[in-house]
């Protein structure tokens, strides 16, 4: 009896742990956004197209890629090489190619369309190729590039999207079961501020520069006449050239390939919302020592949010995050890992479909979700009744004046 109960207990333990390990994705999507227009922002379009080519090479089909280009660089009348976009000065590789589908182009790349695309709130007339048809087992790679600043990104030199907007959109996606995991990469000035406001689970984020720092372009081409690629994206794409569809390189391998002197800015990583471990990474890189080293300033939180809990993530039960989890199509089902295969037999079907509850001790530390329970009901009322704000301001100002006047009159006596 004892043995049975013990085995049952072990089974239950494995069941519970397999709940966490069963975050297996079944399809991959990519949303690649170039948010700036005009010819001198050629490099942003080259950034997005470089990512497009990499993502396609690693296996995500065109139907699962949403490419948003705010301007036309390839067939621009200023482009000496018609129909081509290059990302290096020697013009060795044409990123536009002959088989490309741009889903949102020109004036259609707006903040409203971007947020509607993410949350899925599109009108019924929007065609299928412009929708993000993800489900709760989709891994999404979201890449933003353009001009930005502290907690904002400029769209078309006309409007801005803030980090709060994107965080709220991601939370809507989480509550709607629209993603399994999100990998968020942003290459703008002060990019790390863009992911500082996320509060939904399952998001791994990386940016190109810390708050107060610019991201720089990499190289100019003298025949095209403008800068052709940004530094951070260039080095990321260079690293991704080593990755193919079956590689087992982990996300930490990508992050520990960041070379701050070469990139010219301090890239950052945020992994506190991400349950799975990032992997060992390159042992020579200071990041793998969890803290110290050349280039990575780590005092006061530094550029790796979630570094402290990284050591605590269980690498055996939770699979490591591979680069191909986000960048590639799901091509091979790994049955070599016997533990996983055993656990699969006893999977509780209910366990897979329910969205994972947020791991509360982790999220509270960094940014708390705006819930109706917290803070005060006054703030809530202010939101629901918009006339209250000026009314209260008027009352308070009047009270101030009354006090001042009464104080004056009493002071005279």
């Amino acid at each position: 009896m004892r043995l049975l109960s013990l085995s049952l207990f072990l089974l239950f333990y494995f069941l519970l742990s397999s709940c966490d390990a069963s975050s297996q994705h079944t399809n991959n999507w990519a949303v690649l956004v170039c948010s700036s227009r005009y010819w001198f922002n050629y490099r942003h379009m080259a950034n997005a197209l470089g990512m497009y080519r990499t993502v396609k090479r690693l296996g995500i089909p065109d139907s699962n890629i949403i490419l948003m280009l705010a301007d036309d660089a390839a067939c621009n009348s200023r482009n000496k090489f018609a129909g081509s976009v290059y990302a290096n000065p020697g013009r060795h590789l044409d990123l536009y190619g002959e088989n490309i589908e741009v889903d949102y182009r020109g004036y259609e790349v707006t903040v409203e369309n971007f947020l509607r695309l993410l949350t899925g709130r599109l009108s019924s007339s929007v065609p299928r190729s412009k929708r993000l048809l993800t489900d709760s087992s989709s891994n999404i790679f979201i890449y933003l590039t353009g001009h930005g600043g502290n907690e904002f990104l400029k769209f078309q030199d006309n409007e801005e999207v803030s980090a709060h907007d994107i965080a709220d959109a991601f939370h809507q996606m989480y509550e709607g079961g629209r993603y399994n995991e999100i990998f968020f990469m942003v290459d703008t000035c002060q990019a790390n501020s863009m992911y500082s406001k996320f509060y939904s689970p399952g998001i791994l984020a990386t940016g190109s520069s810390v708050v107060g720092e610019n991201s720089y372009s990499h190289e100019n081409d003298y025949d095209i006449g403008v800068a052709v690629i940004d530094s951070y994206t260039h080095y990321v794409l260079e690293y991704m050239e080593k990755v193919n569809k079956t590689s087992r390189l982990t996300m930490a391998d990508l992050f520990t390939s960041y070379d701050v002197p070469k990139i010219g800015s301090h890239p950052g990583v945020r992994s506190d919302l991400f349950e799975r471990p990032l992997g060992p990474g390159n042992p020579n890189h200071p990041m793998s020592e969890y803290g110290r080293g050349r280039g990575w300033t780590v005092e006061g939180g530094g550029e790796w949010m979630g570094r402290e809990i990284e050591a605590g993530k269980n690498g055996r039960v939770l699979r490591e995050a591979l680069i191909t989890d986000f960048f590639g199509g799901v091509v091979d089902v790994d049955v070599n890992n016997e533990d996983d295969a055993e656990l699969r037999l006893f999977e509780d079907p209910e366990c897979i479909s329910t969205p994972k509850a947020p791991l509360s001790p982790l999220t509270d530390t960094y940014s708390s979700p705006p819930s109706s329970r917290s803070s005060s009901s006054l703030l809530n009322m202010l939101d629901t009744y918009p006339f209250l704000r000026p009314f209260l301001a008027f009352i308070l100002l009047g009270a101030l004046f009354v006090l001042v006047f009464s104080g004056m009159t009493s002071g005279r006596s």
Binding site: C75, G83, Y96, E101, G106, G411
Partner: protein, 544 residues
Amino acid sequence: EKFEEYLSIKSLRDGRVTSSFSFTTLLRDAIPRDPRTLAFDDDTSQHYTLFPLSLGQILRQYAITEMHLTLNAGKWNYDTWGYPDEPDVGVGAELRAWMAGDSISSIDERWQGVRNALAGLFCASLGSLDEQRTTSPRLSFPPEGALPDWGLPHELRHASHASEHVCTENLTPFLKLLPCKSLSGLATLLNPHRIFDADWHGIGLHVLWRPEGVEVRLNVQLVFDPLRISAQGKQDWSFHSLFDRKVEKACPVASSTRVSVELPNSGVYRVYPEPQEIRDGKAYYNLKNNNEAWNIGTMWPTDFEYRICHAALSSPDPALVPFSVTRNLLGPTQDRGQLSIVLTNNQQDTLQLLYLETMPWIVQFYLHTIRVHSDNVPRDDLISNISYVLPVPHARPATFESVLTLPGRSTLTFSMDVAKAFLRYTEHPPDAQRGWDLPPAIFTPLNQSLNGSMSLGSRVYTPSLLVDLATPDFSMPYNVIIFTCSVMAFIFGSVFNVLTRKFIVVRVRPDPPRNQSVSRTEKRLEDTDSDTSNELNTSKSGVH
């Protein structure tokens, strides 16, 4: 089903080469869907082998009878290039569809649906062809095919977006509609790096109903400049020099793959390889599978002779089109201007033209200011049959159709005052300082046949215009906020100081003698009352 490919190449007068690809798929015995069956969701199942499935689904879902979509870039120079093979050469995106329906709302709903579906299919921003750009011209666009007789009236919806860019992402889905894609047949020549470098390029989709069945015609028209592309500056062209490709093998499902090269009228030249058939001044090739790739071309032994337009030239070149047209928007201000059309009749006979203007509401016409002059003589009788649909601001463009009569060998000037709108702050595009592209005007010759009936000739499109509207200072909201906050802070500060600062008059007594220490403490006690006015008094001590 039948699939045919046809390429026609012509050398133009100024050394350029125009090529027109045409891929036609005929779905035999098919009829467009009756819109009354749209209420029932299920449709009779459609089986296609060569007909493109994605396009067929769109046509069935919105019950479209006839549809024409073109995506063009460049200015078609009628005077030196003549008429194009496919007449729809308006710049940007142009979409028109004939739909049957018993209510306007159902037609408009299906129009919106088909626009967005085609926007998704062709990666073009056709979704912006909304009611602010849609018109229904009555006469200028007769249906090219037949309209089925269901007892329902057919209506035309036409919309154009002159600032639409065309690039490889529009060509990719276009090629995917072909049965052989771009792997074999004439479509292998469609190299985007050369197409989008051409002086003029356009891709078009035409769906119409013939009694034999539904026909889908995909066409690509290009105007290349071999004098610019070639290293030696010669007029010679070949598949390899123009497209950087050769036709390796013919499409296996094509019933015919033909190429026709129009033989130039004069000069010594050689067309290679040997044409299989020469008829009516054209050399015909039937591309069947050969051992080597097909590389058709023409070469001239001598360099190109640039023609000099000299009035004293004995035989000026005969005009390629019967009339020439230029359209301009005159006026230096940003609130009003003048639309001016200058038409020249190149032939001896009187010419009647149907003039269509689908102007967005941002430019409003004053019809009472129409002035028509023929060779500088005011002739108001030369304009007739004016049909005008008023523009509704923020909702509907203006549709202006009229018949202009040009006497032989004369120049007609048409001018009309226009007012430019002042847009709302949110209606400006992100690059507002560029201006707005106005769609081209369309001129259709009316041919009077012998028995008195009118028929329409080949359409002529003018280039688009750019109108510069008054743009606000987009930084003004920031300036207003900063200014208002400064004023508020200034007012608040002043009022606060007035209310809380107390000014007290302090009487300063003369210095007491040294032996009176008591009065010094008294002075100190008095001074503590008016601490703040000490600074004021230090300046007055001298006066005292």
